[in-house]
């Protein structure tokens, strides 16, 4: 009986919770967070404190600041893991992705199609807003890109693969993604190269000026806060992620059934 099993599991969880409450009440979060986290909160946007102002990102968004500046290296390699997974998938399915069939697919009913057509521009606007305000509001490149990626995925499912393939194929998406990621990489080393050229010390992934490394990316453009590299990272990542999601979905849809010659 499934119901009984579920009930037993729930009871176990509740009892275990009681146990934890009594025995290990210090595991539960308290009203203070860890000191490192407090530093990040204090330093993410702080032109005031005399010491911390030397170590600020000038972005009110704590998480995006950590993701792209404090721990920018992590994020560069995180997106490259996604990229390498897609490269691995393309390597697995090499030669197995013919151009889509020539006849137009059925798709879903006309009601869904027209609703999707109406909402697509809204989705694009929302995605761009989520992505490009990543340094001010929740969101960022990945989030915005994944919202935008709804459009190609809905196009595939609601219309057909051919509908999308007329506009963009896997190679096109791959090139878009490579370019986006390369922009991220070059933005990361931009100040370092500038430092080499100008003969000024600079770090890889530097954004704001640091003690001993005075170069800086622009904090504001015409009075609008862009937080240096963060805005460029978000823009490039948005393009890269939107195309990455589309490739990930397309590969498995397009790959044709293959018959390998027996077991070797």
């Amino acid at each position: 009986m499934r119901i009984v099993e579920i009930a037993v599991i729930i009871l176990i969880v509740l009892a275990f919770g009681l146990l934890i409450t009594v025995a290990f009440s210090y595991i539960a979060p308290g009203t203070r967070i860890r000191p490192l986290g407090e530093f990040y909160l204090y330093a993410t946007y702080n032109p005031y404190d005399p010491i911390v102002r030397l170590f600020t990102v000038m972005s009110p968004e704590g998480v995006t600041a950590i993701v792209w500046d404090f721990r920018g290296l992590d994020t560069l390699f995180e997106t490259s893991v996604f990229y390498l997974a897609i490269i691995g998938a393309l390597a697995l399915t090499r030669g197995l992705m013919p151009a889509p069939r020539s006849e137009e697919g059925q798709g879903l009913s006309v009601i869904v199609k027209s609703v999707t057509k109406i909402t697509a521009p809204m989705i694009l606007a929302v995605g761009a807003s989520v992505g490009l305000h990543g340094h001010l509001t929740p969101g960022g490149g990945f989030q915005g890109g994944s919202v935008i990626a709804v459009i190609p995925m809905l196009m595939i499912v609601i219309f057909s693969v051919l509908f999308l393939a007329k506009r963009m194929n896997v190679t096109g998406f791959l090139i878009l993604r490579s370019i986006g990621l390369a922009i991220i990489g070059f933005t990361g080393v931009a100040l370092f190269i500038a430092g080499l050229v100008l003969g000024v010390p600079a770090w890889v992934f530097q954004n704001m000026p640091k003690p001993g490394a005075p170069l800086s990316m622009p904090v504001e453009v015409h009075g609008a806060l862009i937080s240096g590299t963060l805005w460029f990272f978000n823009l490039a990542e948005m393009v890269a992620v939107a195309s990455g999601f589309s490739i990930a979905f397309l590969i498995l849809l397009l790959v044709k059934e293959v018959e390998f010659r027996g077991k070797s």
């Binding site: 729930i10 960022g140 990945f142 994944s146 919202v147 990626a149 498995l252």
Partner: protein, 105 residues
């Protein structure tokens, strides 16, 4: 422009004294959500119909999304929703449609 007729001091002053406090409510929704996610996980693991299992895992993802919201992590939620409700179930459904739908005993 706005009068303060409805606002005695803060939104929550009334709540804190006379009803279930906001804090407890916050944690209560958290606990209920986490419990539902346990049920969904259990069903997803034991279900024989893989399409249903994918849908259970989508339910579990939705519950985790609520948890992320309650834990005040909107960035994570924005990443998690496309990944766990959008992309992975989609690709899994494609995989199921290309391979097999039923898990044998």
């Amino acid at each position: 422009m706005y009068s303060h007729a409805w606002q005695t001091s803060s939104i929550l002053s009334y709540v804190g004294e006379k009803m279930i406090p906001g804090e407890t409510l916050h944690y209560l929704v958290m606990a209920v959500t986490a419990l539902i996610s346990v049920v969904a996980t259990y069903m997803a693991i034991t279900e024989k119909d893989l399409l249903k299992a994918v849908i259970f895992s989508a339910l579990q993802s939705g519950m985790y999304a609520i948890l992320y919201f309650l834990l005040l992590a909107p960035d994570i939620l924005l990443v998690y929703i496309p990944v766990a409700v959008g992309l992975i179930p989609g690709v899994l459904i494609v995989l199921i449609s290309k391979t097999e739908r039923w898990e044998k005993e």
